[in-house]
């Protein structure tokens, strides 16, 4: 009871923090422009001649690679820079309540950005007769993907008070999560390693697990994968914060 009240208070503060500064609006505009650009221009939405959002979702792992760390980089590094971490963690809240609250707020913000892409759903429904179940699964996958990157960004932002370093570290880790299952890379890898090894490496990739959602499949294993990445990264955030406090 107390736990949820604390988490809710922290979520409210974080979300409020986004919208009192222009950052949130700048981010939303950039996000929507980029998704539009990739879907229609790079992904050739119209030329495909099919009523699906494949050209929309395909780019999300790459788009999020930069956009999500940009949202997450300040999570803990800002608290350390301002010294508010000392304030927050001497309040009667546990470290994991603080971590969860801050993570959930940013995740909600990313979900809001994603929700604002609804015009593409409207467009594709107006132009043709798409499978809306597949589109729904794509959105679920996209939210989970964003959450996984965000948890990684939370982890790297706990490591440093410098937001730039935090950003670069999380981009690198997320890039690994993409490349481990990116076809050109797995192709290269399969020349030097056995298929089993390639499969194990690819199993760590968000690409492998995001693919199912794009085809409209809500596979428990994929959901468990994303949940594990989030769980692991947030747990590590807690360990990092605890070690820093211990000095």
């Amino acid at each position: 009871m107390n736990t949820w009240a604390n988490i809710k208070t922290i979520v409210k503060r974080e979300l409020g923090g986004y919208f009192t500064s222009p950052i949130a609006y700048v981010f939303l505009v950039i996000y929507l422009l980029l998704t539009g650009f990739f879907t229609f221009t790079v992904g050739s939405f119209f030329e495909r001649g099919e009523a699906s959002l494949v050209s929309f979702f395909t780019w999300h792992p790459w788009l999020y690679l930069f956009l999500v760390p940009a949202v997450g980089m300040r999570l803990w590094s800002e608290e350390r820079r301002l010294g508010t971490m000392e304030l927050l963690l001497t309040m009667p809240v546990t470290t994991w309540q603080a971590i969860t609250g801050k993570f959930l707020a940013s995740w909600l913000f990313l979900a809001l950005a994603l929700a604002l892409t609804f015009p593409v759903v409207v467009t594709v429904n107006w132009l043709g007769d798409p499978d809306n179940g597949v589109i729904f699964a794509g959105y679920v996958g996209s939210v989970l993907l964003a959450g996984s990157y965000l948890a990684v960004a939370s982890m790297t932002s706990a490591m440093t008070r410098n937001q730039v370093i935090s950003f670069i570290l999380s981009v690198l880790i997320c890039l690994f999560l993409i490349l481990a299952g990116y076809e050109p890379v797995t192709g290269l890898l399969s020349r030097v390693a056995s298929p089993q090894v390639v499969e194990v490496v690819a199993a760590f990739s968000v690409m492998t697990h995001f693919e199912g959602f794009q085809r409209g499949v809500l596979d428990t294993r994929d959901i468990v994968f994303f949940a594990s990445v989030m769980g692991f990264a947030l747990f590590t955030t807690g360990v990092i914060i605890r070690n820093q406090r211990a000095g």
Partner: protein, 243 residues
């Protein structure tokens, strides 16, 4: 209310706090004196549960800070060094946030925040964001945050730092007044502040307590009866050596 036993904090090979023990009861105001880097802030950070000690025990109102931190933390109001605050929040929003984390909701929260704003003279800036405040107002916002839940234990790291003489006077008066029914620890560099507001003084140097007594007792140690002479006699040799 506050019981600290054999507190030790090591950062690598350096002992920042070395075997510190003391107690503070309700109705006492304890002044924490010492040169820069003596271990005052580190001690306060351990008492408030921000950093764990290397060894030793801290109990607040009977609750062990290490084993059962939340009940202990509930009793404490804390003003960290430099009075940090969320730059993008308004004073009112920040105090509401602090009050909610302290378990105050609805009318109780409104009353508590109103009282804290009044006590710290923040009426004029309540709707300003913290990054637009002058240093004095920012500091008082931090102070208001630590008082919002009317805590039994108040721990303040340099509460008068950055205030002008009038504000310093106000804050000292406030501390003295609140000390009548709370247990208070505050650190300072200003010796006259200790005389004005404290019922007891601890001088800490290189992580150790080197003096513990009432201001009058400490003053009696110097032939001229000045606290400054006592402070310098106890702590000067170390600072000269550059520790």
């Amino acid at each position: 209310m506050i019981r600290v036993e054999n507190l030790v904090k090591a950062f690598g090979a350096k002992l920042a706090v070395n075997d510190v023990s003391f107690t503070v009861e309700r109705g006492e105001v304890l002044g924490f004196l010492g040169p820069n880097g003596a271990g005052k802030s580190t001690t306060m950070r351990m008492i408030t549960g921000f950093i764990p000690p290397s060894s030793g025990r801290i109990t607040i109102g009977g609750h062990d800070m290490l084993e059962d931190p939340l009940p202990a933390k509930r009793l404490i109001g804390y003003l960290p060094e430099n009075a940090p605050g969320y730059a993008d929040m308004t004073v009112l929003g920040f105090l509401n946030f602090a009050a909610e984390l302290r378990g105050l909701h609805g009318d109780a929260r409104k009353r508590a925040v109103g009282r804290a704003i009044e006590l710290c003279f923040l009426q004029n800036v309540a709707h300003q964001t913290i990054d637009t405040l002058s240093k004095g107002y920012k500091h008082r916002t931090g102070l208001a945050q630590s008082l919002v839940h009317d805590p039994d234990v108040l721990i303040m790291d340099e509460p008068t730092d950055g205030l002008d003489p009038n504000q310093k006077h106000e804050v000292r008066g406030l501390i003295k007044h609140m000390g009548e029914n709370k247990a208070i620890i505050f650190s300072t560099h200003i010796l006259e502040e200790v005389e004005a507001a404290c019922s007891r003084v601890i001088i800490i140097d290189r992580g150790r307590i080197v003096a513990n007594g009432t201001p009058a007792e400490l003053k009696a140690r110097s032939p001229e009866g000045r606290l400054e002479d006592v402070f310098r006699a106890i702590t000067l040799p170390d600072t000269v050596k550059g520790h």
